[in-house]
Amino acid sequence: MAEKRKVCVLGATGVGKTSLVARFARSIFSESYLTTIGVTIETRRVRCDDRELDLILWDLSGEDEFQDVQISYVRGSAGLLLVIDGTRRFTVETGLRLHAAARATAGELPSVVALNKADLTAAWEIDEAAEARLRRAGLLVTRTSAKTGAGVEGAFSALARAMLGSDAPLWRG
C-alpha cells in the first residue's frame, strides 16, 4: 500500500501555486473553494527509489491585501512547497514570512522552494543574493515554469525525496 503525505503549497497571490499544482495533478473540486474557504485539494502518486508515495496537495489561497492565509491548514503536513514568483522580488519576503508562520504552527518540515515563471527570463528579478538567503533559511531551491512544465516534476520529487528521507513528524496538536 502506498504511503500518504499531506503537503501544503504556500506563497503570495499570483505566484503560480494553482498553476503548478494543476500542471502536476488534477482536482475534483472547483477552484472556487480557494476563494470561499481558502484551500482546494488535489492528489497525485509519485515514485521515489522504488517507493510509492501518494501526495495530498493542499493549495492554500495566497496572501494579499484582501485575505490572509489560513495558516491552521498547515497542521499535519509532512512537507511544504513554497512558491515564489521569480519576476516579482517582494514575493521572496512573503514566502519567507509564510514559511516562518507554517513552522510555528507545524514544526520543522522538509521544505522546497519553487522559483516559478522561469520562462520569463527577461523579467527575472531574483539574483544570487536572494537565492543564497533562501538557502540560508534551510530551503532547497528549484526553478519551475508552470507554463512550460519545466522543473515541475523535479520540484515535487525533490520534496517527496526529502519527506521520505526525514521521518515524517508526528502530528502536533
Partner: protein, 592 residues
C-alpha cells in the same frame, strides 16, 4: 525527678548503677542503637515495604483510611486536570462514552414508554400491522413505528486521521459512484478547521446536509468517522458511529498516535467500520453470485468439519475458540481443522496470499493469545474483499481511480490515462473472482486534457473595439464566427470528458472617460459579444457577460490616477485596452 533520692551513709548507688548497667542491659542497649541507626538510614524503604499490607489491613478495619486520603486524592486530580485537561479527557473518554449512552438509553426508554401510551389510542391498518410485528419481535410498539417510518441508507464511510486529514479507510455501499476519498476527507477536515477558526468556538463540524444526503461526523481524540447517509437515519445511528469510533481508538490507539502516512496497520479497521454500513442488498442472481455462493458453501462445509480434541479447561477452550473465531472472520482465511497434538494446538487451513497474516489476526483479535501452531496452505479466495485487493494489486489504479466489486463485476471510477483504462478492461476479466469490468464511470485523462486545451485556445482570443464603441467593427465581427466554433468544440470535448464548461465574457474599456461610464461601456461590450455568440447558436445559459472597467494589467504601476492615465498605455496595448476576452470555467459534471 521521679528518681528516688540516694540515702545518706550508704555506698553511692549511682555509681553502682552505672557499673551494673552494661552488665544488665548491655545487649539490649546495642540492639536499640542498631535499630536507631537502621531507622535513620532506611525509613523510607521499610515503610514502602509495609505500606501495601498496612493499607489492606486498615481497609479490613473500616473506612478511616479512605476518609484520610480522600481530600488528598481529590486535590491531586483537580490539580492534574487544571494543568493538563487534554490528557485527562483522552484517558477517560473510552469510559465516558458507554456511561453517557447508558444515561441516554434510559431517557429514550422513558420517552418510548410515553409514546407507547399515546399511540395506543390511535388505530389504522398500518398501525395494526406494526402492532403484529411488535408482538412477533418482542419490540415495543413505538420502537417498531420509529423503525418502519424511517428510511435511510449509509452510502459511504470515511475513517479520517485527525491530524493530517488523510483517509485511513473508505468503505462504500454497493453501486455508489464516488470521488477520490483522500480529496474528500482532506476537504472535510479543511471545512472543519475553517469553521472552527472562523467562528472561534470549541464546537466542531458534526452534521451537514446536501439535498437528500446527510453527513454525520463523529470526533474522537485521534480520528474522525464520517458517514454519508441518504435519507433520515434515527438518532441512535449516531451512537453506532460513536461506539465504532471508540472501538477503533481502543484497537488502534497506538497506531493512530504514531501515524506517519503508512496505512497498513489499519487494514483490519474495515471490518469494524462495516458495522456502520447499512446496506439494502438487491437479490439479483448472476454469474459472480454463483461463484460467491459456491465459496460460501465451501466455507460452511469447512466450518462443520472443524473438530476439537481438547480436554483443556473451559477458559483455555474459550481462548482457542476466540482464535478460531478471529481467523474465521478474517477474509481470505479458512480454518479447516483445529486439533491438539502432544499438548500442542495445531490450526490447519488455507490462506489467500493477499489475506492478513493469521498470527497477526490472532494477536489483534484475542486478548491473551494461547500458543498455537499454524499450518496454512495457499489458495485463491473469492471473498469480495480479497478479490478487490487482488484487483488493486494486479491493475495498480492511479490515485484518481477507485475500484470496487459489485456482484462479481469490478467497477472502476475516477480519472485515468486511456492506456490504463484499455489495459484494465482486458486484464480485469481474467482475475479469479472477477466476472467482468465496468468502466462506465471512468474518465480518460486525455479527454480532460483535450477539453482543457480547447478552453485555453478560447482564452487566447481577444476581440478589439474602436474607442467609445460598444459594438464590433465588421472586421472584428467576422472573428465571432471563429469564437462560436471554438465554443462549440469546447462544449463537445467537455461533455466527452464528463465536465461542464461555462464561458465568462469579460469586457474592458480604456482609461478615457469617467470610471462609471467605462464600467457601463465595458459591460455593454461584453453583452454585445454574448448576444452575437447567442445568435450563432451558443446556448445563453453557458455564457456570463460582465464588465470589468479598466484593464489594469496593461497599466504601468507608476501611472497616476484619473484622466491623466490616458497616455499611460502605449502602442499595441493601447487597442487591447478596449476589448472583450473569454475565461472558461471547466468543472467536473456532477454525477447525481
Amino acid at each position: 525527678m521521679g528518681q528516688p533520692r540516694p540515702r545518706r551513709g550508704a555506698p553511692s548507688p549511682v555509681r553502682t548503677l552505672e557499673d551494673l548497667r552494661p552488665l544488665l542491659v548491655g545487649p539490649e542497649q546495642r540492639r536499640i542503637r542498631r535499630i536507631e541507626e537502621r531507622l535513620d538510614q532506611s525509613m523510607a524503604e521499610m515503610v514502602a515495604g509495609a505500606l501495601p499490607e498496612a493499607v489492606i489491613e486498615s481497609r479490613k478495619k473500616g473506612e478511616a483510611l479512605s476518609w484520610a486520603l480522600e481530600p488528598l486524592i481529590t486535590d491531586a486530580i483537580h490539580e492534574r486536570v487544571r494543568r493538563d485537561p487534554g490528557s485527562f479527557a483522552d484517558a477517560i473518554s473510552p469510559a465516558m462514552g458507554p456511561a453517557i449512552r447508558r444515561a441516554v438509553a434510559c431517557a429514550l426508554r422513558a420517552m418510548i414508554q410515553r409514546l407507547n401510551e399515546a399511540l395506543a389510542l390511535g388505530l389504522s391498518w398500518e398501525s395494526l400491522r406494526w402492532r403484529l410485528e411488535a408482538r412477533r419481535t418482542g419490540r415495543s410498539f413505538a420502537e417498531v413505528v420509529l423503525l418502519r417510518s424511517m428510511v435511510y441508507r449509509t452510502e459511504q464511510l470515511f475513517l479520517v486521521h485527525r491530524g493530517t486529514g488523510i483517509a485511513l479507510e473508505h468503505v462504500t455501499s454497493e453501486d455508489i459512484p464516488y470521488r477520490d476519498p483522500d480529496q474528500v476527507s482532506a476537504m472535510l477536515t479543511a471545512i472543519d478547521a475553517f469553521a472552527h477558526d472562523a467562528f472561534r468556538t470549541d464546537a466542531r463540524l458534526e452534521r451537514f446536509r446536501v439535498g437528500d444526503l446527510t453527513g454525520w461526523v463523529e470526533h474522537g481524540p485521534s480520528a474522525l468517522l464520517v458517514a454519508i447517509v441518504r435519507g433520515v437515519a434515527p438518532p441512535a445511528y449516531g451512537s453506532v458511529l460513536g461506539e465504532t469510533l471508540e472501538r477503533v481508538h481502543l484497537v488502534y490507539g497506538g497506531e493512530l498516535a504514531g501515524f506517519r502516512g503508512d496505512r497498513t496497520p489499519f487494514s483490519g479497521a474495515r471490518e469494524l467500520l462495516s458495522r456502520c454500513l447499512q446496506q439494502q442488498r438487491r437479490s439479483a442472481p448472476g454469474r459472480g453470485r454463483a461463484a460467491l455462493a459456491a465459496a460460501a458453501v465451501l466455507a460452511a462445509l469447512a466450518a462443520t468439519a472443524l473438530v476439537f480434541w481438547m480436554r483443556a479447561s473451559w477458559e483455555d477452550e474459550r481462548r482457542f475458540a476466540g482464535c478460531v473465531e478471529a481467523l474465521r472472520r478474517e477474509p481470505g482465511l479458512l480454518v479447516t481443522a483445529a486439533e491438539r497434538r502432544d499438548g500442542q494446538v495445531v490450526l490447519t487451513g488455507v490462506r489467500d496470499p493477499l489475506a492478513a497474516d493469521p498470527r497477526a489476526v490472532i494477536e489483534r483479535g484475542v486478548p491473551a493469545p494461547p500458543a498455537v501452531t499454524l499450518r496454512f496452505e495457499p489458495f485463491y479466495s473469492l471473498h469480495p474483499q480479497i478479490v478487490e485487493r487482488r484487483a488493486a494489486r494486479a491493475l495498480e489504479p492511479p490515485p484518481g481511480v477507485s475500484l470496487s466489486l459489485r456482484d462479481g463485476v469490478l467497477v472502476a471510477s475516477g480519472v485515468a490515462p486511456e492506456r490504463w483504462i484499455e489495459r484494465a478492461r482486458w486484464s480485469a476479466a481474467v482475475l479469479p473472482g472477477v466476472s467482468g469490468f465496468d468502466g462506465e464511470r471512468l474518465q480518460a485523462q486525455e479527454s480532460i486534457d483535450r477539453a482543457r486545451a480547447a478552453a485555453s485556445s478560447l482564452e487566447g482570443v481577444e476581440l478589439l473595439f474602436r474607442r467609445g464603441a460598444a459594438r464590433l467593427s465588421s472586421e472584428q465581427r467576422a472573428r465571432v464566427d471563429e469564437v462560436a466554433a471554438a465554443a462549440d468544440r469546447l462544449f463537445a470535448l467537455a461533455r466527452e470528458a464528463g465536465m461542464t464548461a461555462e464561458i465568462r465574457v469579460i469586457g474592458y474599456a480604456d482609461p478615457v472617460g469617467s470610471e462609471a461610464s467605462n464600467r457601463a461601456l465595458s459591460l455593454a461590450r461584453a453583452e454585445h459579444v454574448a448576444a452575437e455568440l447567442g445568435a450563432r447558436g451558443v446556448p445563453a445559459d453557458r455564457l456570463r457577460a460582465s464588465g470589468a472597467g479598466l484593464r489594469r494589467e496593461l497599466l504601468s504601476p507608476s501611472c497616476p490616477g484619473g484622466a491623466a492615465r490616458t497616455g499611460c498605455i502605449a502602442g499595441a496595448d493601447e487597442r487591447r485596452a478596449r476589448s472583450v476576452i473569454f475565461l472558461v470555467d471547466l468543472r467536473a459534471a456532477s454525477k447525481e
